[in-house]
């Protein structure tokens, strides 16, 4: 089938899906998601055509004038289309189960279809106008999905999100117009073609605007503040879409502009991006670690992973400007691979968290525990996601992070000293991030799924309906497969990498993930095989030496005193207490302890312990800015004091000034 036909079919499927969601029939609720599932499969094939089968760009819906809709696809777009399709299809399946008894099923179905469609059209848009329309449609749709339950709380979160993203859009519009001004074209092709005439200073401005504008959407620190507000209030399937895909649109836009259109820039661009990435990764996970709300934690972890992706991109830019094409392609491959992987495992994690919250009715880890026995499949998939996001072999996260390590370590080959030093430091940051993430997910999985249930809700919890489980499987299984066989995944993104860096390295041959320049290689499948072999061996050995032994079940050991209650378990707060102390310079924690005495100082009645950290950026960046604007506004408000005489005075003054100065 022709690409155009595929495109049109896909679009119309989503459109119909969106409309069908408005049919207020309960049995009908499955339809929109079925349609979006089929639609995303159509787009998946489109993406495959664009990347694997015939990596050629095509032009559909050609634009007649500047403000016309126009879609086109190339290798980069194709890769993102594939990523979107994988997650979107899974989310569609999950939603079938989730929205069965969902109050806002109709609206959610409508806007979910719109959102997915807008994601596609963002990556496929050929010109400025199409991009902006799709971009804002995406923002609006997600805004309505965040505020779905229309409570004041969610509407505040939604407002904050909308305003942040709108500021970002302002920067994007500005940079588009700068590009247009210097290239006289409004389509990306044309901009790319005419970029040569653009002075470097202007390019730099565009680059910085791109970093800010798209960074807001991608959630780089310090523009990340909307993420931990918006995701937790969003319904799970939407949170998965937003965190898995929507913030990747920021990455896409940044790549499209700073890589594809601007081409090669000075070295410090790359270094800037690396630094931003490192800071985002570290602060993101650090702030996430101490959160006890499952979704907030996952949200922060998204910030972290965007940071990791930016590490790769920055390294690639840096190498490119140092003339190391192959290295640049390696770094970019790592980054794009991590884009795909993060979409998968963050998707499964959010869906899992959604299922958990769906059943226990609370997002707070402190209210959970022992869920693995009650929702085994969900727990298993969540564990898979956690292992992947911690980059533990043999899952996919390991593959992409390993590539990132390789790229950063090879930075010493670049001629400039800064690059030599910056890149291994990026590696160190990555290592620290990895360790922090591991701690975070031990906490997230351990406190939530292990131990004894802390509330009645989690004690009576049960497994979620089949479609939700299947939806998670859609994402969890690729997490493992792409880890074991990186080949297919890499083939999705190689054409894009080649198109943008002019070089490509074959990184994967017969099951080994290897980097030519270093002759370093890993074979996840080999590791898995070895583990399996070892497992068999050790079991046999135990059987031989130890024979069959029975297992005695009893209470956990409580220092000999019986009656250990779930409340005596280690809490999520306690788990990260050491970190709060060690990193107090970052968290700036504040604790207040109120002790009530029966008889001072011996008999304590009650001790209230409260501890909170300072939200640095909110307190020292956002709030002052807001206060300033409000203050100015309230001053300006005096202009309209209600006195007619004053108004007449304005007329007279204006007139006289004009008479004096304008004539």
């Amino acid at each position: 089938m022709e690409t155009e036909q595929l495109l049109h079919f896909g679009i119309s499927l989503f459109a119909v899906g969106a409309l069908s969601a408005l049919v207020p029939v309960k049995t009908f609720r499955i339809v929109p998601y079925l349609l979006s599932l089929i639609g995303s499969l159509f787009f998946l094939s489109l993406g495959l055509i664009l990347t694997v089968i015939t990596p050629a760009s095509y032009q559909a819906l050609p634009a007649s004038s500047i403000f016309e809709f126009s879609l086109r696809g190339d290798a980069l777009a194709g890769f993102f289309v594939i990523t979107i399709s994988l997650v979107a299809s899974a989310v569609s399946v999950y939603s079938i189960g989730f929205t069965r008894n969902y109050v806002y099923a109709g609206l959610s179905g409508f806007f979910t279809n719109i959102l997915i469609l807008s994601l596609y059209s963002v990556v496929l848009s050929a010109n400025l106008f199409t991009f902006l329309i799709s971009w804002e449609t995406m923002a609006i749709a997600s805004y309505f999905l965040i505020t779905l339950d229309r409570s004041d709380e969610t509407s505040r979160a939604g407002l904050f999100y909308a305003v942040m993203t709108h500021i970002g859009t302002a920067f994007i519009i500005a940079l588009f117009f700068i590009l247009y001004r210097f290239t006289n074209r409004m389509d990306f092709e044309g901009m790319k073609a005419g970029i040569a005439s653009m002075p470097t200073a202007v390019k730099t401005v565009v680059f910085i605007f791109a970093l800010i504008g798209f960074g807001t959407k991608a959630g780089i620190v310090p523009l990340h503040t909307w993420i931990p507000r918006a995701y937790p209030v969003a319904p799970p399937h939407i949170a998965a879409l937003m965190s898995g895909l929507m913030i990747k649109m920021g990455i896409y836009g940044f790549l499209r502009i700073s890589f594809d259109v601007l081409g090669q820039g000075p070295e410090w661009w790359g270094i800037t991006v690396i630094s931003v990435g490192a800071v985002s990764a570290l602060l993101g996970i650090l702030y996430g670690l101490i959160e006890n709300d499952l979704k907030v934690f996952l949200a922060y972890s998204s910030v972290e992973n965007v940071g990791i992706i930016l590490l790769g991109i920055g390294a690639s830019m840096m190498f490119k400007s140092n003339g190391l094409a192959t290295l640049s392609s390696l770094a970019l491959t790592a980054a794009l691979f991590h884009v795909l992987n993060h979409a998968l495992f963050k998707g499964v994690l959010f869906l899992g968290a959604g299922s958990v919250i769906h059943t226990t009715g609370s997002g707070n880890m402190e209210h959970m525990g022992g869920l693995l026995k009650r929702m085994p499949v969900t727990g298993l998939f969540f564990l898979a996601g956690a292992l992947s996001i911690c980059a533990l072999p043999p899952f996919n996260g390991f593959a992409s992070e390993w590539l990132t390590y390789q790229a950063l370590l090879l930075g010493y080959q670049s001629p400039s000293v800064t690059a030599k030093i910056v890149s291994p430091l990026g590696g160190a940051a990555l290592a620290l991030t990895g360790a922090l993430a591991a701690a975070g997910f031990v906490k997230a999985f351990g406190i939530t799924f292990l131990g004894a249930p802390r509330t009645a809700e989690s004690r009576d919890a049960g497994e979620v309906p089949l479609p939700m489980v299947v939806g998670m499987a859609f994402l969890a299984i690729p997490c493992l497969l792409f880890g074991l066989f990186p080949g297919p995944a890499l083939s999705f993104l190689m054409p894009a990498v080649y198109a943008m860096t002019g070089a490509s390295t074959t990184l994967e041959q017969h099951g080994m993930l290897g980097v030519g320049q270093t002759s370093a290689a890993v074979s996840p499948i080999g590791m898995l095989a070895t583990m399996a072999a070892m497992m068999i061996a050790v079991m046999l050995f135990i059987r031989m030496k130890g024979g069959v032994r029975k297992t005695v079940y009893g209470d956990s050991w409580g220092c000999g005193t019986p009656g250990l209650t779930p409340r005596m378990q280690y809490t999520a707060t306690a788990f990260t207490k050491p970190l709060r102390i060690i990193y107090k310079r970052i968290y700036l924690p504040r604790r207040d302890i109120k002790v009530q005495y029966l008889l001072k100082p011996f008999f304590v009645k009650s001790i209230h312990y409260g501890s909170e950290i300072t939200p640095f950026f909110e307190r020292y960046v956002y709030e002052p800015a807001t206060r300033f604007i409000q203050a100015v506004a309230s001053k300006v408000k005096l202009l309209q004091s209600g006195s007619l005489n004053l108004y007449l005075g304005y007329i007279l003054i204006t007139l006289i000034l004009l008479l004096i100065f304008a004539t």
Binding site: V417, A520, A521, T530, M531, M568
Partner: protein, 305 residues
């Protein structure tokens, strides 16, 4: 031989631990148990029944096996006496570290699964220490990897037999601290205590008994020996067999034994001369080591060696 050298680690790691214990005993003026004691312990544990908490899930039972197999896989990756080790193509130094991380991940989960205070405490502290140690260790390894131009351990071991450049010494120092921390020894952790306030590793495996405990302990011994071997391969690989002929191998084995014993002695020395640190003093120690590793990297890049 090259295929089977990982067996050295799997089989002899308890012995190394025994040796360290023995030396410590001597230094403290005791006779101490025999060097084979760890083997007896393992066998005894294998023959015992297991007591499992009713709160636990399958994670609790799976953890020992996963920990053991993951560590064993790491052992397969690291070349011991010969660089002709085909299995080490399976992974490089990063893969090795992450294999150990996988083991740690599950160990921490196992600690949380029983729902007791001690397990959680142990997991929390273990992960905290890991956060402090892992980047430092990585950085130290980066220095070696960069000077060798590869993260492949065999490559590193072959490229520079004995390059005691300043950067290497710095990196080595950092790495030794890392080993101390990772193997849960004084001053970071006390392997011989069950006093809850000081437990880290012991706290995590407190609920384990029988063969589960045996696997955990064994995995711990292996991890220790893997790290020793890694240090040897990376920082003084001189004498490691480049070819497969028996004479070379024999010498290589001898040299290896000597080196391992040396490190074991060092560990024993450190443990018996240092007092355990308070938990929240650790950042200063490990942070210092991190600075060393960082300096090593910078010096390497600046001085080119």
């Amino acid at each position: 031989m090259g295929y089977l050298q990982f067996l050295i680690i799997i089989l002899f790691s308890p012995l190394v631990n025994g040796v360290i214990k023995k030396v410590k005993a001597y230094m403290q003026g005791r006779i101490g148990p025999g060097v084979l004691q760890p083997y007896y312990d393992l066998l005894r544990l294998l023959k015992k029944d297991m007591v499992v908490s009713t709160e636990t899930s399958w994670i609790f039972k799976a953890t020992p096996y996963i920990v053991f197999t993951a560590t064993a896989t790491a052992a397969v990756i690291v070349p011991v006496v010969s660089t002709a080790s085909p299995f080490s193509m399976m992974g490089d130094v990063i893969a090795l570290i992450y294999m150990l991380a996988l083991a740690r991940f599950f160990m921490a989960l196992g600690g949380l699964d029983a729902g007791t205070g001690f397990g959680g405490e142990g997991s929390s502290r273990e992960m905290t220490v890991a956060i402090l140690v892992e980047p430092m260790m990585m950085l130290a390894l980066f220095t070696a990897a960069i000077s060798a131009g590869s993260t492949d351990i065999v490559r590193i071991a072959t490229v520079h037999p004995a390059a005691f450049s300043p950067s290497h010494l710095l990196a080595l120092t950092a790495f030794i601290v890392a080993i101390v921390a990772e193997t849960g020894r004084v001053p970071v952790d006390n392997p011989d205590t069950h006093l809850e306030l000081t437990m880290i590793h012991e706290g995590m495996i407190l609920e384990y008994s029988g063969r589960y405990l045996a696997l955990m302990e064994w995995a711990h011994y292996m991890k220790q020996m893997i790290l020793f071997t890694l240090a040897i391969d990376i920082f003084f690989p001189l004498g490691i067999a480049q070819s497969g002929n028996p004479a070379v191998l024999a010498t290589a084995v001898a040299v290896y034994v000597a080196k391992v014993t040396g490190i074991a002695l060092l560990m024993a020395l450190v443990e018996s001369t240092r007092a355990k640190m308070r938990f929240f003093q650790l950042p200063s120690l490990l942070g210092g080591a991190f600075v060393l590793a960082f300096l090593s990297l910078v010096t390497h890049i600046m001085m080119g060696k």
